[in-house]
């Protein structure tokens, strides 16, 4: 779930409306993107994860209201027992959790979820034929996972799920054990991700290739009707039980009425109807007409909706519409390829580049103030973020001075040749990207650097990034879980291209710290190391930090219990609509 999520967050419209009163509440929602059906192995984009999160569940989930984020058991009876060496996690499952009735089961009767179902579901994530983008959760972590993947990638026969993976063991009907190569404290975050959600083998065998269109999950809702490209409807899953609205939250949550439903059985609505609306104009009309519970704010509408103080306009306030804004855990940046002979070997040049970009101006002009300037590679809200000034804040005179120190006074090299740099951005043909590209070009021109920005189609952009065929690249990292390790892996030497370290940064001091933190559980010591690692990459100016995005959402007064969440895919069960 990468850049797409952020881009869509600016466009996507969410909405709810209720049917008249009582328990038969209906959520009407508008979305703006395609999704890949309901197979958890394909939940690698926002829309797919959202759909999967309604009908399937995993062992763990995020506590809805608590911040900082933490996980709580969902289908697990309790948090796992973790061996002293951190290499074995043992989960006990809640007994009595049932898959709903479906014709894939003998006699059409659903059955109880067992530990074997989890082992089977996780093997599907690793099945090379299914091309899941979630294999990284387990490969190189779970004992035997990579051998199993290699074996079946090379095999001509169909994958045999009875072929064991030593790291996934169903010890008995309700006991599940995960064995690791080395400590993997992020495992608990990973097990909240939709890829890992449990499904019955009978459904996969029965529906075959159509399984993705016939979800059979334990989640709070089940699929009732689906017309692709238009409308999808879910109804309450009658076999979902055992969960109530949380009673923990802070004073702000209480003041916002978010704890008013504490203890009530979930889900709080009976029906979700989601429309596939792609035009913001249409969404806006429907939102104002009360047909949708929520709407994002398109940049072209921003000034009509938000006043200069960045609050909702009086007209909308009078209609009872609420504006909820909150920081997201993502970061936008410009990455330098450290293997590039020009920018990679010249720290002063990278610093000059970073200092030449007027980020506050970018925030104002390009993002409608919906972002804030970034100061650390670790966003606020994640352990390791330290609020301190970014050392390369915009300063034209200093940028010119750094450029001269880098060997390019006035943007010319020692032979008088103009310095020309190339940056890639994803989004061929996109006006928004063109505007941002023009902005960067102008900023660099001010110090005498000729910046050429190439707008590339998504696949080609990713290919160049993976293969290291870049000099400078625009990027966004949408965090997979709220642990700074997820960001710091982007600077780890062994992860260099074709791995996730697209900058090819390699610093023995940083790598040593990473080797240390990657196995450490959450602790003040680990947070201190995160801070130190962030300082190292900022000092080396591996990225020119750009912005942290804020989410801006408009909500109808009759829509309740919404709290912005960085990982909101399982949150539908908490939402409520009032009769209106």
């Amino acid at each position: 779930m990468t850049a797409r999520r952020c881009v869509l967050a600016l466009v996507v419209l969410t909405t709810l409306a209720s049917a008249a009163g009582g328990a038969a509440e209906t959520v009407l929602y508008g979305t703006g993107g395609d999704f890949k059906g309901f197979d958890p192995v394909d939940a690698n984009d926002v829309e797919s994860a959202d759909q999967v999160g309604r009908v399937y569940e995993g062992l763990l989930e995020y506590s809805y209201l608590d911040r900082p984020y933490h996980v709580i058991p969902r289908l697990a009876a309790a948090m796992p027992e973790v061996a002293a060496d951190g290499l074995t996690y043992t989960f006990k499952l809640k007994p009595g959790v049932r898959f709903p009735d479906d014709k894939c089961f003998p006699g059409g009767k659903g059955r109880e979820v067992t530990a074997d179902d989890f082992v089977y579901s996780w093997k599907r994530v690793l099945n090379p034929r299914l091309q899941s983008a979630g294999d990284w959760l387990f490969v190189n972590h779970v004992l035997g996972a990579e051998d199993w993947v290699k074996k079946w990638a090379d095999a001509k026969a169909a994958v045999d799920y009875s072929d064991p993976i030593p790291g996934f063991q169903a010890l008995d009907k309700y006991t599940l054990q995960i064995k690791l190569h080395r400590p993997y404290p992020q495992l608990l975050w990973v097990l909240t991700m939709q890829y890992t959600f449990v499904l019955p083998r009978e459904a996969v065998d029965f529906y075959g290739a159509e399984f993705r269109n016939h979800p059979v999950g334990t989640g709070p809702f089940r699929l009732k009707a689906w017309r692709r490209n238009y409308r999808i409807e879910f109804e309450r899953n009658p076999t979902f039980s055992g969960q109530t609205y949380p009673d923990t939250g802070d004073a702000n949550d209480r003041a916002a009425g978010l704890l008013a439903d504490a203890g009530k059985p979930l889900p709080l609505v009976d029906r979700i109807v989601e429309y596939d609306i792609r035009e913001y104009y249409t969404t806006w009309q429907m939102f104002l007409g009360g047909q949708l519970f929520s709407a994002g704010i398109n940049k072209d509408y921003f000034e009509k909706v938000i006043d200069p103080q960045l609050e909702l306009t009086d007209t909308l306030k009078q209609r009872g519409i609420r504006l909820l804004k909150a920081p997201l855990l993502d970061i936008y940046y410009l990455g330098f390829n450290m293997l590039d002979p020009v920018v990679g070997k010249n720290k002063k040049l990278r610093q000059a580049f970073a200092t030449a970009v007027n980020v506050p101006r970018y925030v104002e002009v390009i993002t409608n103030n919906r972002h804030t300037p970034a100061t650390s590679p670790i966003p606020p809200g994640i352990a390791g973020h330290v609020a301190k000034p970014y050392p390369y804040q915009f300063n034209l005179a200093r940028a010119k001075q750094l450029l001269a120190e880098a060997g390019y006074p006035g943007g010319k090299d020692d032979q008088g040749r103009q310095l020309r740099l190339t940056m890639i951005m994803p989004g061929a043909g996109s006006t928004d990207v063109r505007q941002a590209a023009d902005f960067y070009t102008e900023q660099l021109r001010a110090i005498g650097v000729d910046l050429v920005v190439q707008q590339l189609a998504g696949s080609e952009y990713l290919r160049r990034e993976h293969e290291g065929e870049t000099q400078i690249f625009w990027a966004v990292w949408v965090i997979d879980y709220p642990d700074a390790q997820n960001l710091l892996q982007l600077f780890y030497g062994p992860n260099k291209c074709p791995g996730v370290n697209a900058t090819n940064y390699q610093n023995p001091a940083f790598d040593k710290l990473y080797d240390q933190i990657v196995s450490m559980p959450d602790s003040p010591e680990r947070t201190a190391l995160y801070e130190k690692m962030a300082d190292i990459v900022v000092d080396d100016c591996v990225w020119a930090l750009m912005t942290y995005p804020l989410s801006y959402g408009l909500f109808q007064p009759w829509f309740q219990n919404y709290k912005q969440h960085a990982f909101p895919y399982a949150n539908w069960k908490y939402y409520k609509v009032l009769p209106h």
Partner: protein
Amino acid sequence: MVAYIIRRLVSVIPITLGVLLITFFLFRVIGGNPAYRIAGKNATPARIAQISKERGYDKPLFLNLSNPFDAQFPRLCGQLVRLDFGESITTKQRVSTMLREGLLPSLCVTTPLFVIETVLAIVLALLAAYYRNAWIDRSLVVLAVMAMSISSLVYIMVAQFWLASEWRLFPVWGFEGPQYLVLPVLIGVVAGVGGSVRFYRTVMLDEMNQDYVRTARAKGVSGRTVLFRHVLRNAMIPILTNVIVAIPFLYTGALLLENFFGIPGLGRLTVNALFNGDEDVIFATTFIGSVIFVVANLATDIAYTWADPRIRLK
């Protein structure tokens, strides 16, 4: 005539190949290997390689010297000829299923739109031609020019705001029944009829200046009879061209209308695929669209022989 038809049908091959080649170049060559998108941001090189292998993205783009047909473009052509449209990258659905599901909603909008617009345009053009230079003619020309000068986006936004959102005369969005089609069809007709009226009027006035019309009038045939019995028939060739060439667009759908009004048709599917770089859907719609377009052109030629017996296809 049969030989002509066969020759024209054979011409489908190079035309379609040319269209596909351009599309393939834009989306696969410039667009890059889709395996990177499929594999996601945390992808391992092994997973990318494996997806490339499974989907044939690891083959040469155009020519494989050891086996000329074992390259990406020839394989794509082979698949499309077999009507195997593959699987969408963004929805993981079979493209053939997506096309099948989108056809009816598209036809629900485009067919009434096409029929009403064509009939209305011919009627108005006849009226204008019959009353040429009178106030009716002048008014119709002014209205037609106005109608065709305004972007269809303006019609959509104004109508959706005033007629649907404010006055609630129509649903704002949806595809739940015939009432949901009224506004999009109405907008489509208003946006398209102006150009057709002007074109047909010109064609008819051109015919009305022919010698045979003067002869008929000299013989005392009434103006109305001349118009309907002679002028209209002789004006049929350009009208047929205009009408039959528009038929492929019934299939491709009304791109803007479907997107703004939530009609789950092929136009919406195509627009979404373009935005998402969903190349299998784009290859399929391009392929089908180009074949239908060539066939519709052939149908136009055949229709000429019906409209004008002097025409022979050789």
